[in-house]
Amino acid sequence: MKHGINRRGFLAASGALAGGLAFVGPTVLRAQEGGTLRFALSTYPPSFDAWTSSGTAAGTIKLLMHRTLVSYDPDGMMRGELAESWEVDESGAWIFKLRDATWHDGTPVTAEDIAWNVTEAQKPDSAAYLQGQLALITSVETPDDKTVRMVTAEPLAVLPGWFAHYNMPMIKKGEPRDTMIGAGPFKMGERDRGVSLSLTANPDYYKEGLPKLAGIEAIVYADENLRVAALDAGDVDLIEYVPWQSMAGVEENPDLNLITRDGPFMYLTFNATRAPFDNPLVRRAVAHAIKREDIVAAAFFDRGGVLAHLPIAEQSEFFNPEFKDAWNYDPDKAKELLTEAGYPDGFECTMLSTAQYGMHQSTAEVCQAYLSMIGINVQLDLPEWSSRVQKGNEGSYDLAVMGTTAANNDPDGLSNILDGSLPASFVRSYGMETPEITEAFARGRAEFDPAARKEIYRALEEAAINTVPMVGLAWRSQGYAMKNNVTGFSNLPGQLTFYSGITLEETMLG
């Protein structure tokens, strides 16, 4: 009995199919699709909730769909968005004057919409990223359709910065929080959960002539090496989170362009509820014991910089040159401090980090090596990220490695990391009381005079250098890479690097 196809026939047919496919070539995938930028994201946004923090990839997508009241230009200077102008009135309240803008459904953006966003996000159970800050706004008034007046118990200089954050975009009144209806330059099109997102230009965007692209195809490439390979192979035009080990290769490639910014940083936190890290002398000893160049080399392939003070960048107007090397590498001083604290022979302790991210683990390993040189024997605890977060929140550690960015380039953005009066969190030291620092942050927020603010934050840094609520270790380079024909995209300076998606409205494919 004969069946349709024999072995030889099958082999011939499959060979012909494979050969045929090889000849067809990848032209279809590689062709330029008329002004659609293909952007490789590092992860699919876990949520589209406008006001909660769902990571930087979600932040970028929100910056495409939505607009905030104010934002930053490519140099990091504040500029208007939905708000045309903003100022403090004589009573200390902030007044935002709105421009003519429309939501994606064609209805106008009104003062009432803005007020609704604020009152919803400030509710205690809103889970909004800025809920704690917005709660300081005691009332929101809408004298007319284009004016929003925000009243606070005391004047707050930092308030406009909150309304520049990508986790505080404005959505239309009454819409669900994960609405796709925004006032941004792009409209959400098709979504394939976990895979890709298609966005098309909003023809009614309030900025004349923008966006320049007809659309953006955001495709998720979770593997960092594949992200670089996809850019190299021409499958995508722009990638975020360029891995440090690939930066040199991207720079050498004449077809590609790499833009990096030192913004995010690595640091150590302490459990201050128990010995020995309840003692500031021991914490200072740790700060002087670690040679940070080795962290930059081991964890970031020399793509970053030494950080031996508070994470205030040298370019910032709040940078204090006198503290540049305040926590310099000085093993002798570290030993002296340990002896003074009553630990001449050192001690044993655990250091929490995570094996899930190479940079966290490498940083921990370098710290472990240097701490052993002054007699502190560190046992590493490297669970995966979720467990690390939980252990950090519960204070199940002596010493921990962390990495993050501040909310913006204003030193007030560091309160999240330094202010011990805030609830327990894995991003700051556990159970650390910092009355001086808490008070300085409060004064800084209420001060409008730039010179006086600078002095407040100088004193704050001085206090931090002595009491060591955290130890700065290294700046890390945050990079975007793109093909040479991509123009107009900027990597925003310093802590604003994750706001860079805002410049996609000006991005072009040459």
């Binding site: 072995r7 099958f10 082999l11 499959s14 496919l21 090889a22 067809v24 070539g25 990848p26 279809v28 995938l29 590689r30 876990p46 949520s47 589209f48 909660t52 923090s53 769902s54 990571g55 930087t56 979600a58 205690p124 159970d125 809103s126 889970a127 909004a128 990223y129 809920q131 704690g132 994960d178 394939d192 959960r193 976990g194 895979v195 495709i219 490439y221 979770a222 593997d223 594949l226 390979a229 996809a230 190299d232 192979a233 021409g234 499958d235 995966e384 990220w385 979720s386 467990s387 977060v389 939980q390 252990k391 962390m402 960015t405 999240n416 609830p423 327990a424 969190s425 894995f426 991003v427």
Partner: protein, 319 residues
């Protein structure tokens, strides 16, 4: 026979229940709070009040037995719940993702069988020859090279050097059939490589064994042409154990293509599972693991039944 099948079905159901229960319990035992994680994205500090509110909304504040009963009730009515992260129904996600994983596995199985069986047969016929040694060497090498190494190397060669295939990704077949097949080639080829090694070795062993059988000697004594003996008597009989192994390997692959899916950015079920575990998205994890285990148990059941049909000695229930 019917009693045997019924008995196997009851065992299968019991196994699925055991898996669902253990996954549920294990997930709640390991540290990591989904609400806390969801609100700490991007290494920011989550407000404890917000975490508490979210836990309440997710139903995580109910006693564990209550959560378990709710979950079991959901499973029985075909409702696997919704994702903690964005409320997407889990069953819909599985329905989109599962076919993509199956597609890679089936394509890989086709490639592996069409090459592995002839190769193994050739090696068996020429046992201990130079060609046999070369084939065995490559089979061992392919078996011991991890998929992420193979994956990275093929991306380097085909996407970055030769530039004839995309580095990875996915487009639905309905949108772009050609692009879809191009994107499928590398992941399927990578999975096929390790499968190919198993099938080649299995075919070789199996053909060698059949070649020793009396009926082959008889056929040869009758003067039947060698080719005909091979095709009619040897390969056909040798294929039975090869297909059994292939079935089992495919079952393992349903949950085991994680690395391939990751390396090639292929949005299948395994990659979905890893993302769900990372986020401690309980409904998603339980739903996916349950689907995989049901498929695996079902596949085994089918193999058992086929074996029983082929060999009446296996139906032991009546003993």
């Amino acid at each position: 026979m019917l009693r045997y099948i019924a008995y196997r079905c009851v065992v299968a159901l019991f196994l699925v229940w055991v898996v669902v229960t253990s996954v549920f319990l294990l997930l709640h035992l390991i540290p990591g709070d989904p609400a806390e994680l969801l609100l700490s994205q991007g290494s920011i500090a989550a407000d404890p009040a917000a975490v508490e509110a979210l836990r309440e909304r997710m139903g995580l504040n109910e006693p564990l037995w209550q959560q378990y009963l709710d979950h079991l009730g959901g499973v029985l009515t075909g409702d696997l719940g919704a994702s903690f992260r964005d409320g997407a129904p889990v069953i819909e996600q599985i329905a989109t993702r599962l076919p993509r994983t199956l597609e890679v596995i089936v394509a890989a199985a086709l490639i592996a069988t069409s090459i592995g069986v002839p190769l193994g047969t050739y090696a068996a016929i020429h046992a201990n020859s130079f060609a046999d040694n070369v084939i065995s060497f490559f089979a061992s090498a392919a078996l011991s090279t991890p998929v992420f190494v193979v994956g990275t190397v093929v991306i380097l060669i085909f996407a970055q050097q030769l530039r004839i295939l995309p580095a990875g990704g996915f487009v639905p077949f309905s949108e772009d059939p050609l692009g879809h097949i191009q994107l499928l080639l590398l992941p399927a080829g990578t999975v096929a490589l390790s499968l190919l090694a198993v099938i080649t070795r299995m075919s070789r062993a199996s053909v060698l064994e059949v070649l020793q059988r009396d009926y082959v000697r008889t056929a040869r004594a009758k003067g039947i042409v060698r080719k005909r003996i091979l095709r009619r008597h040897v390969v056909r009989n040798a294929l039975i154990p090869v297909l059994t192994i292939l079935g089992l390997e495919m079952g393992t692959l349903i949950g085991g293509t994680v690395l391939v899916e990751f390396v090639f950015n292929w949005p299948g079920l395994s990659g979905y599972l890893v993302a769900a575990v990372d986020a401690r998205d309980y409904p998603e994890v339980v739903g996916i693991v349950m689907t995989i285990s049901i498929l695996f148990v079902f596949l085994n059941l089918v193999i058992d039944v086929i074996n029983a049909a082929l060999d009446p000695r296996i139906s032991l229930v009546r003993r």
